[in-house]
Symmetry: C2
Subunit: 252 residues, 2 copies
């Protein structure tokens, strides 16, 4: 059996009791940190579970997938994953290969930014599609994130903007960088989606004791130089007065 | 301090280690089951935590909110909630009252249907807004759910349809009921959103060993009489071939 075991939002304590119980009964345990930033490591998880846990890289999962799946034919193999396990599409590919080889699979769920954003007081059913703001590269400056925000805004919906994580290079986009990139795209697209006076929600390390959530104008948030990661932005659509009251009361 | 402690998707084993640790240090513990169906009870949670846990009803939370918050001024009070705690807007109101009374609050997160749906292989960033299909009542037959599906479909996006939970009457909408209601609304609205041959995803008791996930036509799913609850439907938008492969491989 192949288990995908979610670690949840922040560190190893966000694992569920079911996740810990499942990990304890696995014959082999692996953990990956390349799809999301976690504040733990293989050693701490290993101490908690009472078994060796090996960290695997993206390349391992791609190159040695067959070996891992062969192991799961006869043994219980667990792969531990930050957040909720299937949110990263990487692992969907692993499940497909497992199925083709006749290896049974099971998912153990965990907490995720997708529901945690409800703690901003913004109603979760008023969020449109989620989008990722990519780190610009030399010849690649994607603007699809801006288009997604604009599409949601037109329907009055909020947008969760995940700020890019490129963990192999240890690069995580901060609130400041994210806002600067969005302002740059605005200069080009000119739809009035993100301006210095636009009120947005910025949040970092959600679920931790160091969590920061702020509701302020883009200009003010840039001045605050919020650098903690992982970070997200929420571009609110039409605010119900209760949503706005909550934002002002807690995060202004 | 007032803690909102998430129980996660299915039963008490979906609590995180952080949730259990927090519950253990609370002076008073309450649990509510009215915002979502959980396969556990106050007694089982009490045994797990090693402390008394009192079940509270919706009316308790509304009528005795002040008493509870006064208690949280001087003691650590935990309210345990199914799924991820703030998804139910009921608890947003509680946090606002707490803030007004100067009571500090903290949220402990848990697994939720909002990210768990990624296990269908449908990419989570291709979901538009989520909608709830309400149980029709005598003089009230809401069709906003249909409109949300239509809005998402126009943009090629998937829709998560939560089937209504009216827990005080122990009524939970099944896949069969949900599909019948949507077909009824289709007869009236005639936008071709839900027809007998529309392929949809139906899922029940996600996160449990009894989990059912099916990808089939509305007609076929109606014949299968899927009655387990809580249940959801997903009305897919435009399917990427990898999404369709996954659905067919695992759930057809």
């Amino acid at each position: 059996m192949l288990y995908l075991i979610s670690l949840g939002l922040f560190d190893e304590k966000d694992m569920s009791l079911r996740a810990l119980e499942t990990a304890k009964k696995c014959d082999s345990l692996y953990v990956e940190f390349f799809t999301t930033k976690m504040f733990t490591d293989a050693q701490r998880i290993s101490i908690l579970v009472g078994k060796p846990v090996r960290e695997i890289m993206r390349s391992d999962l791609e190159d040695r997938m067959e070996k891992l799946l062969r192991e799961a034919r006869t043994k219980d193999v667990g792969i531990m994953v930050g957040g909720d396990a299937l949110v990263a599409t990487t692992h969907v590919a692993l499940l497909i290969e497992a199925k083709k080889l006749g290896v049974e699979t099971r998912i153990i769920h965990g907490s995720s930014i997708y529901s945690a954003i409800a703690k901003t007081g913004l109603q979760i059913y008023k969020f449109g599609r989620t989008t990722t703001l990519a780190l610009p590269q030399k010849n690649y400056y994607p603007t699809s994130c801006y288009d997604a925000i604009a599409h949601n805004a037109k329907a009055g919906l909020h947008t969760l903007v995940l700020l890019d994580v490129r963990s192999h290079a240890n690069e995580y986009m901060s609130v400041r960088e994210g806002l600067e990139i969005l302002l740059d795209i605005e200069k080009e697209k000119k739809q009035g989606i993100i301006k210095p006076d636009t009120m947005v929600v910025a949040a970092c390390v959600i679920g931790s004791e160091d969590e920061v959530i702020r509701y302020a104008s883009v200009k003010k948030l840039l001045e605050e130089k919020i650098e903690k990661t992982p970070a997200i932005l929420i571009i609110p659509g039409e605010l119900h007065f209760l949503e706005e009251d909550f934002l002002k009361l807690f995060f202004k």
